[in-house]
Amino acid sequence: MITRTGLILFAIWVVILATTPLHADNYIVRTAIMISMYSVLALSWNFIGGFTGYPSFATVAFFGLGAYVGAIAQRNGVPMVVAWMLATIVVGAFAAALGSILLRLKGHYFAIGSIAVVEVCRLVISSWRSVTGGGDGLNIPLLRWSPDDVAIFFLMVMLVLMIIVFALNAFVSRHRLGFGLHCIRQNEDAADMVGINTTLYKVIAFTLSALFVGTAGAAYASWVGYIDPTDSFSILMTVKVPVMVLLGGAGTVLGPVIGAASFVVLEEIFWSNFLDWNRAILGMVIVFLIFFLPGGLLRVSFRKVRDRLKGREGVAT
C-alpha cells in the first residue's frame, strides 16, 4: 500500500535522477543509472523476498541470463529493443518453470537452492562455448553515439524500468495477490487452508521477481558492451540486492528504492575516498544499519536508536 506522500516522494526522486544529465557530469549520471538499475533489481526482489518472505538469492541468475539472451540476440542481428523484450520473455518463462520446482522448498533450503540456481546458470553459460563464447565472454555491438547521449539513453531506459516495477509493486500491494502473498509469508499452511492457491501465487511472485531483472540485464549488456560469466553471475551482486531491500524496508513499496539509492551512493562515497579501507567501512555501515535499523530506513526512529545505544531495548518494532 502506498500513500499519496509516498507517491509524491517517489516522483520527486525520479525527477532528481532524470535531471542529473542537466546539472552533473557523466560520472554522476552513471551513478544514477546504477541506482535505477539496482532499484529495478531490489523492487523485483521485493515480490518474492519482501511480500512473500522467501529469501531468494536467484536475482543475479535472472540478471545474467537476461544479459546473455539480450547479447546473443543482438549479435545475431536482432534490434536492441526487441532483444531486450526477448530477454524479458525468456527470463520470465525460465523463472516460472524454475519456480514451480524450487518453491517447494522453504526457508534456508529455498535460499540454498536459489544460490545453486546461480551457480548452475553460470556453469552452463560458461561451458556452452559455441553459443555464449564461454570464458571469453561476449562483445555486444556498441551504440555509436556520443558518451552523453549514451548515458542519457540508458538512464531513461533504467528509469522507465524502475517506474514500471514500482507501479507493479504498488499494484500488487493493493491487489488480492499482495494480500495472498502476505498471508503466505505469515503462515503458508493457514493461507492454503483459507483457499489461497499458494503454489500459483508463489510462482507468480517468483516470475515477477525475474521479469524486469532480465530486461535490466539485457539493457546493462548493451550499455557496457561486454559480458562474461563471472561478472554476469556474481554472487556478490545477488547478496547486495536483499541487503538493499532490508536497508530500505522489506515488504514496503518505497523501501527497495530508498535502500538501493542509499547503498549505491554509500558505496560510491567509500570507494572514491578510502582506497584501502572501503570494504571494511562499507561492511561496518551495513552491520550498523541492520543492527540498529532492523525495519529499514523507512522505520527509523531516532529515539529507539538512542535507547539501543544506551543499552535499553526500545519497544518492539
Binding site: 571469453d136 502476505h182 561486454y226 563471472t230
Partner: protein, 420 residues
C-alpha cells in the same frame, strides 16, 4: 506492513511517524547524491599528466593488482624526481589516479567513467583481467581517452576494433610456438601432450594456441580440456590425463589454480617428463606456495629480470629497473607483471613528448606509431594496437629458484627432465 488493508497497518508504514522516517530516508539519499556532486575535487593543476589506474586491490585478482600499484608508484616517484615529462617544451609532473575496482567488471566500467569524466585523466592504464580491460577500454574509447593494457595477452581483447586500446605484451600465439619448438629441440622423445586450460580469456587462449602449435609441430594432443573459473578440484581431469599417458603436461591458469593442480598431480601420482604451467613459475606466489613441488615446472613468460635490454627514461637498463625494484619491494624479485607494467609506463616517457600535446587524439596517434626499446624489451605497436612478436623467455624452477632456459643470450641453465 505495507500491503495490509486495515487502516491501522497502513499507518504503521506511512503514518505520521513513518512519513518522518520516509522523508529522512529520501532526504538522506538525495543529500548523499548531492555530496557526490559537490564534494569531489575537480582535476588538479593543468600541468600534471594524470594517468588513471583502476586496480584490482581486493577480490580474486588482488595479488596482480597490487603488483601493478607498486610499479606505478615507483615510476611516478622516479619520473617526478627527475623533473617530470617534457611535452611541447613544458615539463609536466605525473600523477597516478588510483581506484580499487574489486576485480569486478561493472565497477571497472564505473571507475573508468569516473577517471574519464571526473578526474579528466589523459590516459588509462587498463585493469589486470583481460575481460575487465575490454570494459575499461570501451569507456575510454567513448571519451577518446587512450587505454594502455600492460598485461592483457589475449588477442581477442584487441580484435574489437577499439582504436584507443593498446597492449604492450606480445600475442599468445608467438609464445606458444617458441615453447613447443624449444621443448621438441631439447627433448626429442616428446610425442604426446595433455593440455588443461582455465576457461577464462587469457589462460584459455594460451591453452588453445598451445594445442595448435603442438599439432603444427607434429605432436599428438592426447587430452585437451578446459576447467571453469573457481574450480576447486582437478582430480577427475588429472585421472583422465594419467590415463592418456602424456610426455608433456601443459596447464594454464593463475597462481591459485596452478598450485592446486600441482598438489593434486602429486596426490594422484601423476607425472610426466615435462610439466609446463602458465603463468605458474612466472609468478613468485607459485614457487613460494609450492616449495619443493615447484621444482622442474617449466613456463613461458613475457619478461625476466635477468634479460639485458637497453631502455630509456628513468630505467635505461633492465638492471636499473631490477635495482630500483629490489629497493621498493624489500628484496623480492619482480615477475613479468612488474616488468610489463613498468615497461608500458617507460614507453610513455617516449610517447608523450612525441605526441606533442596532452590531447587524447594526439596521444592515441603517437601510441599507434610506437616502435622503441625499453628495459622490458622492444615495444612495437602493430595494426591491432598490440605489441608485435619478439623472443620471449622460457623458464624452469630448479632447486627452488627460477632459471632462464631460452633465449640463449640470457639463458642461465638448460632444461631438466622430470623423473617418471
Amino acid at each position: 506492513m505495507a500491503f495490509q488493508n486495515s487502516k491501522e497497518s497502513r499507518c504503521s508504514t506511512f503514518g505520521q511517524r513513518c512519513n518522518a522516517g520516509l522523508l529522512q530516508g529520501v532526504g538522506l539519499a538525495a543529500a548523499a547524491l548531492a555530496l557526490l556532486v559537490a564534494a569531489v575535487p575537480m582535476a588538479a593543476a593543468q600541468e600534471t599528466i594524470r594517468i588513471g589506474a583502476p586496480l584490482a586491490l581486493t577480490g580474486g585478482l588482488a595479488d596482480e593488482g597490487m603488483k601493478q600499484q607498486l610499479v606505478y608508484r615507483m615510476w611516478a616517484e622516479k619520473v617526478n624526481a627527475a623533473g617530470g615529462i617534457e611535452v611541447n617544451g613544458r615539463s609536466h609532473q605525473v600523477e597516478i589516479v588510483e581506484y580499487d575496482y574489486q576485480s569486478d567488471g561493472p565497477r571497472a566500467g564505473q571507475l573508468a567513467e569516473r577517471l574519464a569524466t571526473r578526474d579528466r585523466v589523459h590516459l588509462i592504464m587498463a585493469p589486470f583481467g583481460s575481460g575487465h580491460t575490454v570494459i575499461a577500454g570501451t569507456v575510454g574509447e567513448r571519451y577518446r581517452v587512450p587505454t594502455v593494457a600492460c598485461v592483457a595477452g589475449a588477442e581477442s581483447v584487441f580484435s574489437t576494433g577499439n582504436r584507443y586500446l593498446f597492449g604492450t605484451i606480445s600475442p599468445n600465439g608467438n609464445i606458444t610456438e617458441t615453447v613447443v619448438q624449444y621443448l621438441v629441440d631439447s627433448y626429442p622423445d616428446l610425442r604426446r601432450v595433455a593440455i588443461l586450460g582455465r576457461d577464462d580469456v587469457f589462460p584459455k587462449s594460451m591453452a588453445e594456441s598451445t594445442a595448435e602449435s603442438a599439432k603444427a609441430a607434429g605432436l599428438e594432443v592426447v587430452y585437451n580440456a578446459l576447467y571453469s573459473v573457481g574450480t576447486m578440484d582437478h582430480s577427475s581431469s588429472m585421472t583422465s590425463i594419467r590415463r592418456a599417458e602424456p610426455d608433456w603436461i601443459y596447464i594454464t591458469g593463475y597462481s591459485q589454480d596452478l598450485i592446486l593442480a600441482r598438489r593434486q598431480m602429486e596426490d594422484l601420482g601423476l607425472t610426466a617428463p615435462v610439466v609446463t604451467m602458465v603463468t605458474g613459475p612466472a609468478m613468485k606466489e607459485f614457487t613460494e606456495g609450492l616449495g619443493g613441488l615447484a621444482n622442474g615446472v617449466t613456463s613461458s613468460t613475457w619478461w625476466h629480470h635477468s634479460a639485458t635490454y637497453e631502455g630509456l627514461g628513468v630505467w635505461p637498463t633492465t638492471a636499473s629497473f631490477y635495482e630500483d625494484f629490489l629497493a621498493a619491494s624489500g628484496g623480492e624479485d619482480p615477475d613479468y607483471v612488474h616488468g610489463a607494467c613498468g615497461g608500458a609506463l617507460s614507453m610513455l616517457e617516449e610517447v608523450l613528448p612525441r605526441a606533442g600535446s596532452l590531447d587524447g587524439e594526439a596521444i592515441r596517434d603517437a601510441l599507434a606509431e610506437t616502435s622503441i626499446e625499453t628495459f622490458y624489451g622492444p615495444i612495437d605497436i602493430g595494426e591491432n594496437g598490440m605489441n608485435q612478436a619478439r623472443d620471449l623467455p622460457i623458464i624452469q624452477v630448479q632447486n627452488g629458484s627460477v632459471v632462464v632456459l631460452y633465449p640463449e643470450v640470457i639463458a642461465t641453465g638448460s632444461l631438466q627432465i622430470l623423473e617418471e
